[in-house]
Symmetry: C2
Subunit: 80 residues, 2 copies
């Protein structure tokens, strides 16, 4: 699975555990609701600053906790 899908799934996992809507998180993160949706569905390759807004302000979790998850344990495949 690609990195943006992993991030999207992780965001969704945390968001639903907090019982928040995409709109609520988007509002706190100061991003557009549909942009949040695209991110959750792995459709956008977001920058660090945008990810920071979403996880630190939208979800109120640290980077450390966000990435402390099974899906972020792999190193990449060997390069071509």
């Amino acid at each position: 699975m690609d990195i943006q899908s992993k991030i999207g799934e992780r965001i969704k996992e945390i968001r639903t555990s907090l019982n928040l809507t995409q709109e609520a998180v988007a509002y706190k993160a100061e991003v557009d609701r549909s942009f949040m949706n695209h991110v959750e569905n792995g459709k956008r390759n977001i920058s660090m600053r945008t990810l920071e807004k979403i996880i630190c302000y939208g979800l109120e979790i640290t980077f450390q906790d966000f990435f402390n998850h099974e899906s972020f344990k792999s190193k990449g495949r060997l390069r071509k």
Copy 2:
């Protein structure tokens, strides 16, 4: 300190601990050498795919390990 500077410092920390030059990491990550330098010095707001290239392929470390560090323990300030 902003997120891109934290990332840059973390990259440099790991790179030097591996005794690699910026050029060597850039080569393995398949990014430009000068781009690597800008990133290390907090001058660029990189995308997740590019960060993945640098940490997973360039430094050969997992996202989990990369972000498991003191500097990534803070939640953001309250939004305006």
